[in-house]
């Protein structure tokens, strides 16, 4: 078995008396889509925040490409190749879609302490950014401020940004949320191809998408992983059915 890209061991986070993350261990292996499912309030987003570095963990380890992430902030983890999308889209709203992606291209190229050369005429920024927008199907919206995009389009834009970063693993927090059935379908196809570029840890409520995409699924309930396995294993796991799927399936 190949070395996992992302290795999480015994991760914990308490908010007061609430154990939002209660000893979570999971792996993200090369080339896989690992879906993280669970009822509302199970701690999925908290876990994504801990991995990406926007919430500090109480204990436990996160190793990414063999390196311990302890003490690294969100910007440092992003530079190492941890690309993420947010549950509630997080973009520079006044900037156009293109400029949002250009920011990622600029970050990937190195220092932003460059003071004189205009970015808008810089083909080394605009060309890769435009290419990423084309890949996610947003090229026509390139010059629209991010604030004027639809919900679904903002999700696509976040993915374009993660792509532009040349991420070595993706953390996607509900990328299908707010998308119509058409949008979900095309995004599902897109993510399916993306796993060969970098593995994806996918938090998603759309079960059709999860079952279609996931190589493995982990089920999170009250901050604990109650099961990890293939789609079939999870579907037939009695505890999972009771805790979660029973209500929907």
């Amino acid at each position: 078995m190949a070395e996992p890209v992302l290795e999480i061991r015994e991760l914990r986070k308490n908010f007061g008396a609430l154990a939002a993350t209660d000893g979570v261990s999971l792996d993200l292996r090369p080339g896989e889509i690992h879906a993280l499912i669970g009822p509302n309030g199970a701690g999925k987003s908290t876990l994504i925040h801990q991995i990406s570095g926007s919430i500090r963990s109480d204990s436990g380890t996160i190793r990414f490409l063999g390196q311990d992430m302890a003490g690294l902030d969100m910007a440092a983890r992003a530079r190492l190749g941890l690309g993420r999308s947010f549950q509630i889209s997080s973009l520079a709203p006044e900037f156009s879609s293109l400029r949002n992606v250009m920011l990622a291209v600029q970050a990937k190229q190195g220092s932003s302490l460059r003071f004189f050369r205009p970015v808008m005429g810089d083909r080394s920024l605009t060309d890769p950014a435009m290419a990423m927008l084309e890949r996610v199907g947003l090229a026509e919206r390139a010059h629209l401020p991010a604030a004027e995009l639809s919900h679904g389009e903002r999700r696509q834009l976040e993915i374009a940004i993660a792509l532009a970063l040349g991420s070595k693993a993706f953390l996607f927090d509900e990328p299908m949320a707010g998308m119509g059935p058409e949008g979900s379908k095309s995004l599902t196809t897109f993510l399916d191809g993306l796993r060969h570029e970098a593995p994806i840890l996918l938090v998603e409520h759309d079960m059709d998408a999860v079952f279609a995409l996931a190589d493995r699924i982990s089920v999170l309930v009250y901050g604990r992983v109650i099961a990890t396995g293939t789609v079939d294993e999870i579907r037939n796991d009695p505890e999972v059915r009771r805790a979660y799927l029973g209500e929907t399936a």
Binding site: A75, E94, N100, Q106
Partner: protein
């Protein structure tokens, strides 16, 4: 790309503002009205200070309520260096004073940079109201230091007996001094424009809009903001040196929080993050001060009303009214 007019409306407005600001003192000079040249110089110097603040406040969203510290420091650099030169007594370690403006500006820039670095490094660990308060606190520390230090006039301030010199220019002549200030303002605007369009500006503005997004692409907002804060302080420091030379006087009032507030008001009036926002703001401010100040000593009451209207009905300031919403490529 959407079709773009050759000159955007904002560019036309900017050019008109720059020409008006130049034509006014030229006309006044032709008619021998020295007072109006001084008025125009006041506009230009305040605008320069506000262009500096606009880097931090406008582009970075860093509401520094302590920029008077740098304005006043620049003023004291001019005052102290020229006093020592005038009295022919050396400063510390046998360094001579000077009456050369370029040297004074250089020293003002260095001093402001050196002071702004630790102030920024500490203040930028906070955001929002805390950032406002901590920058205010630092500025007040410097203010009280100046008040209580008798060597350079303390509370009474320090007079500059003869305006400092610029090679090849008779600075005692109001129009010449105006032109020096005007050229510096245009250079500062050019620098602001370059910074805003470059990678640095993109990161700084993205951080204002959404710091989480900036961090998520791997750019630490703190570093970008610290550089912006320091550059911003340096520019405001040069304006302070010019202000001291304009009034031939520097006092702790240049360091007081009223001054910090005035600089913020200029930007809000003119339009924050806009290239010519501080220029439009300073023009409006000084004209209100002059026009209403002649009628009533309570002119600031009316300034307050105008500010209220701008905040409630014209968030983009004067530039927003004249040139429409800001555009980001």
């Amino acid at each position: 790309m959407p079709p773009k007019p050759r000159l955007s409306r904002e560019t036309v407005v900017n050019i008109l503002l720059a020409l008006m600001l130049l034509a006014f003192p030229l006309g006044a000079s032709a008619m021998g009205e020295t007072f109006y040249i001084t008025l125009a110089t006041r506009i230009v110097v305040l605008a320069l200070a506000a262009v500096g603040l606009n880097i931090a406040l406008g582009l970075g969203g860093l509401v520094s309520f302590g920029h008077a510290a740098f304005f006043g420091l620049g003023g004291y650099v001019a005052g102290i260096l020229s006093t020592h030169a005038f009295n022919a007594e050396p400063l510390l370690f046998g360094i001579e004073g000077t009456t050369s403006m370029p040297v004074i500006w250089l020293v003002a820039v260095m001093i402001c940079g050196i002071i702004a670095l630790p102030i920024g490094a500490i203040s930028l660990r906070t955001t929002g109201v805390y950032f406002i308060m901590i920058t205010l606190a630092f500025a007040q520390m410097i203010y009280f230091f100046a008040v209580s230090w008798p060597a350079y006039g303390g509370e009474d301030g320090l007079s500059i007996y003869v305006r400092n010199e610029f090679p090849g220019v008779n600075t005692a002549q109001p129009l010449s001094f105006f032109l020096i200030c005007y050229v510096l303002l245009m250079l500062a605007l050019g620098l602001f424009w370059l910074l805003r369009g470059a990678r640095f500006g993109a990161a700084l503005e993205a951080g204002r809009q959404n710091a989480t997004r900036l961090a998520a692409v791997g750019i630490a907002p703190f570093n970008i903001r610290l550089v912006a804060f320091v550059v911003s302080a340096m520019m405001t420091g040069i304006a302070g040196a010019l202000f001291a030379d304009l009034n031939k006087f520097v006092s702790p009032s240049m360091l007081s929080w009223h001054m910090s507030g005035e600089l913020i008001v200029l930007i809000i009036l003119g339009g924050k993050a806009r290239l010519f926002g501080p220029v439009a703001g300073a023009m409006l401010y000084v004209l209100i001060e002059y026009a209403l100040g002649g009628i009533t000593e309570h002119w600031q009451f009316f300034l307050g009303l105008i500010l209220l209207c701008v905040v409630l009905f014209a968030r983009g300031g004067l530039l927003g009214l004249l040139a429409g919403k800001a555009r980001h490529g």
